[in-house]
């Protein structure tokens, strides 16, 4: 049995491993990051840290999460804190982790973030890997030195 946080993302109930959850907050004013990809909603101050806000709907390839969404799950990926916007938070409870049913065809972004299932009162909920929601970049920009002339 593992502990999961049950949340609503893009209108669906999902389960999130509590090990991935740093905290659950209502975020303050978001500052946009021009030119960043659409899934990056912007930056927000969380106490003395700057946290990157992820528009979960866009990250999943669905409709963008509404502008008014304020509730977020804070997680840490590669040392950087992210706020994953959620529609609502429902519960924290222990569940038995089940593998994804065979033949289950998850569409769009769900396929890349779903890592298993839990069953709540007979209703199956997808276990979502928060790290998979964070846009991955292949090469990071920055001043990298030129290779030495041989």
């Amino acid at each position: 049995m593992e502990l999961f946080l049950i949340a609503q993302i893009a209108g669906r109930g999902v389960a999130i491993e509590t090990g991935q959850v740093d905290s659950v907050v209502d975020i303050a004013q978001i500052v946009a990051v021009p030119r960043a990809e659409a899934a990056v909603r912007g930056l927000v101050a969380l106490r003395s840290r700057v946290v990157t806000v992820i528009d979960t709907g866009t990250a999943l390839g669905l409709d963008a999460t509404p502008d008014g969404a304020r509730r977020a799950v804070i997680t840490r990926v590669d040392g950087h804190p992210y706020a994953i916007l959620v529609d609502a938070l429902e519960d924290v409870a222990t569940f038995e982790r089940q593998p994804l049913s065979s033949g289950l065809a998850l569409d769009r972004g769900w396929a890349s973030v779903g890592v298993g299932l839990v069953e709540r009162d007979g209703e199956p909920l997808l276990i979502v890997d928060l790290a998979a929601l964070v846009p991955q970049t292949v090469a990071t920009a920055g001043a990298s030195p030129q290779p030495l002339a041989a």
Binding site: A36, V50, T137, A149
Partner: protein, 767 residues
């Protein structure tokens, strides 16, 4: 020098504490290579520092121990108990000597020959000298864990945010003025604290560079070489921890450069180079990194030789060696235990440096790169992350968003109006012509897709200089200047290529730091000289013109001052300006700067000041408002009358007074203190110390209250009728408490200031 010694002591003490575990482990298992390396590094570092600090005893001990340990590393000696004991005795001894240096106590060196002799292969176990009990001197500085500073820093940021929140909430309601005053006080304290806490972590890289000239001179002298050292970028600020960690690597690299890189004068001459080798050490900030570059024009690294040595010492399997490309072969220099030189010298030893150097730099998340030109020199570049550095930034507004730009990448900020700036479109490209110079123009709003792209916005241009060239960045407004703690942003944010990091300013809203070079790249700017060449002729005419800042002075006059004299223009809080000790002074950055102004500042809360510097002295000049940068015409009408005005020039048909920088600085000049030694023969009432001493010291006398030991005082002041032993002071000036001169007394009433000073002047003048 004292600072360096203190640091050496603290560092050695710390390493010794850390090493004690290693020592015990090595004692238990003398074949343990990792422990051996750790102890080896310790004695090597001590040896390095000693040569520089002139501590011959420590140098001798550490060199002896290093020799033996090197032999063990090379497999020439077996680390038996006797050897381990002898080495440990030396390590202990180093600790004792360091404590002795710190407390100023003497420590006899009779047993040191024995300690060194015990290292010999055939030595019989020596009876270890008893450990002297040297009392530890109380330290004047505290060494803090940087983690603690980090926690303090984040606590501080929380405090600032809490203060802001409180201020926001109070603003919405009618509050008691007393509460407001309390909040005001809190704000001031918080701001001050933040500044202090921030500074606890930051240090100018000068702290690292200041020791270099002496070190290079001494090292070169010992080797009979000539080295011309030039240092650049000493004022780049770096995290204190980084500076500490960079110290050893830098010392190693520079010693290596002088010892192995730069050739002896005769060899240089033969190679057609100047006899004096050149060594250039520079620091600069580039994006989110600090670059420290050490370039010499010596012989470079002999890569073939490295490969041969690696083969001989079987450091790398033969197959790997054959498969190596040039870069990998050059990287062999970082292999532990490899040196490209055969001879061992007291200066840089056995090439132990480079593996330690790389380990230290990588430990702080940095990188080291070599650029080797055999026969012509070696350039080593160390990249250190900027994380947690404080950056001086300019906050600009575009649309409703704010961004920070590193101040050092901004050459100039100007408003688009009047004759000095013109904006044209050539083909698709926008070009700004600033005082006859054409620069590519990038609209930040359009680049970022925010704000109104043209028209009323973009009223301000920031001239951004990058390594490749300069361009004008059109922004809406300059909002503020702020010192910010910049941290790297999330990868998906950095991937845009236009940001160098993120920060949390006092407003409590996150802000992005723009990357000047990144913006140029994204905007597709290609820097060629074509744009500038059209104006060459114009530029030729302007060679004589001196750029100057035109400003509105506090007395309503328009004045100008050559740009070269102005370090920067910044708004300061009038709270920082006070009339103290007969002069207006500005407290800024922990220092006092004399402040000049043409008229009283009035009751404003903030005033722009020109920070003027001539390289050594700094003064501030308060003004009403900066206007723009102008070119001074060649004709200057001379000034009549007094005041710091050099003359009058005509700018745009208007008469403008030219401020006389020379007069401002010459007003700061004060005659050197005469430094005459004055012994106050105190009587226990404290009058001399509290009343007399400050007055005398202000007049240039150095005061002591004890009879000077080494040389006689120039003059002694006494209130007693007692005779003063001749030989302690050359002259005696007697003071009396009674205004009325008793008959025949050659004394001065103690509050007769003029007579007292004259008597002193007479006395020391007769020296």
């Amino acid at each position: 020098m004292d600072d360096l010694l203190q640091e050496f002591i603290a560092e050695t003490r710390e390493t010794l504490e850390a090493l004690s575990g290693e020592i015990v482990a090595w004692e238990a298992d003398p074949t343990d290579r990792a422990r051996l390396d750790a102890i080896f590094r310790f004695v090597h570092t001590v040896k390095g520092s000693c040569g520089f600090l002139d501590l011959p005893r420590l140098a001798r001990l550490s060199h002896a121990a290093e020799d033996v340990l090197a032999a063990v590393r090379d497999g020439k000696r077996v680390p038996d108990t006797a050897l381990v004991n002898a080495v440990l005795a030396i390590v202990d001894r180093i600790g004792e000597i360091v404590e002795a240096i710190d407390s100023g106590a003497g420590l006899d060196d009779s047993s040191e020959d024995l300690l060194i002799a015990a290292l010999a292969e055939d030595a019989r176990p020596a009876a270890l000298a008893h450990t002297a009990n040297v009392p530890r001197a109380s330290s004047r500085s505290v060494r803090l864990n940087v983690d603690l500073l980090d926690r303090m820093m984040s606590g501080m940021s929380e405090m600032v945010l809490a203060r802001n929140e409180l201020a926001r909430r109070l603003r919405d309601e009618a509050v008691d003025p007393l509460v407001e005053a309390a909040l005001e006080r809190l704000s001031l304290t918080v701001a001050e604290m933040r500044d202090t806490v921030t500074r606890t972590r930051m240090q100018k890289i000068d702290a690292l560079f200041s020791a270099l000239p002496r070190m290079v001179r001494d090292t070169a002298g010992e080797l009979g070489k000539q080295v011309a050292l030039s240092i650049d970028g000493s004022d780049v600020e770096l995290d204190r921890e980084m500076i500490e960690l960079m110290r050893d690597p830098l010392v190693h690299i520079i010693r290596n450069a002088v010892d192995h890189g730069i050739e002896a004068p005769a060899d240089r001459k033969a190679a057609g180079k100047r006899e004096a080798g050149r060594l250039i050490v520079s620091a600069r900030q580039s994006g989110n990194q600090i670059l420290i570059e050490i370039a010499d024009d010596g012989r470079g690294i002999d890569v073939e030789r490295l490969v041969i040595k690696a083969r001989q010492q079987k450091l790398v399997p033969e197959a790997d060696l054959a498969a190596m490309d040039e870069t990998a072969r050059l990287d062999l220099i970082f292999h532990p235990g490899l040196s490209s030189r055969d001879t061992v010298t007291a200066i840089s030893g056995r090439g132990v440096g480079m593996d330690v150097v790389r380990a230290n730099i990588e430990h702080i998340g940095g990188r080291i790169h070599l650029s080797n030109q055999p026969g012509r020199g070696l350039t080593i570049v160390i990249y250190v992350p900027l994380t947690l550095s404080i950056m001086s930034t300019i906050v600009v507004g575009v649309g409703d968003q704010r961004f920070a730009i590193a101040r050092q990448s901004v050459d100039e900020i100007l408003r688009v109006r009047g004759e000095s700036v013109r904006i044209d479109t050539i083909g698709d490209a926008a070009v700004a012509t600033v005082r006859g110079r054409r620069l590519p123009l990038v609209s930040l709003g359009r680049l970022l897709g925010i704000g109104t792209p043209d028209g009323e916005a973009n009223r301000t241009l920031a001239i951004i200089s990058t390594r490749d060239g300069e361009y004008a960045l059109a922004i809406d407004d300059v909002i503020d200047t702020e010192e910010l703690v910049v941290k790297p942003a999330a990868p998906s944010v950095m991937a845009t290529g236009v940001y160098a990091g993120q920060t949390l300013p006092d407003s409590g809203l996150p802000m992005l730091l723009l990357d000047g070079s990144g913006i140029a790249t994204i905007a597709g700017l290609r820097f060629t000289r074509i744009i500038a060449s059209e104006d060459e002729e114009v530029a030729g005419d302007r060679v004589e013109a001196i750029p100057a800042l035109l400003f509105e002075d506090l007395d309503g006059q328009r004045r100008a001052l050559p740009l070269a004299a102005i370090d920067r223009v910044e708004p300061v809080s009038t709270d920082a300006i006070r009339l103290t000790a007969g002069q207006w002074r500005l407290a800024i950055g922990g220092a006092l700067v004399p402040l000049h102004s043409a008229a009283p500042i009035g009751d404003r809360t903030e005033v722009p000041v020109l920070r003027l510097t001539d390289g050594t002295t700094e003064i501030a000049y308060a003004i009403d408002e900066p206007i723009e940068i102008v070119q001074l015409p060649a004709e200057i009408a001379p000034a009549r009358g007094s005041g710091p005005i050099a003359g009058v020039v005509i700018i745009d048909g208007e008469q403008v007074e030219l401020l006389d920088a020379h007069a401002l600085f010459s007003a700061e000049w004060q005659p050197q203190a005469r430094d005459r030694l004055c012994w106050l023969h105190v009587d226990g009432s404290g009058w001399m110390e509290t009343f007399l001493r400050p007055m005398l010291e202000a007049s240039g006398y150095r005061c002591v209250t004890q009879p000077p030991r080494d040389a006689p005082a120039d003059v002694v002041l006494t209130m007693d009728a007692d005779a003063i032993t001749p030989g302690i002071a050359r002259h005696v000036v007697r003071l009396r408490r009674d205004p009325i001169d008793p008959a025949g007394g050659a004394s001065i009433y103690r509050y007769d200031r003029a007579a007292l000073l004259e008597a002193l002047a007479c006395a020391v003048g007769g020296r």
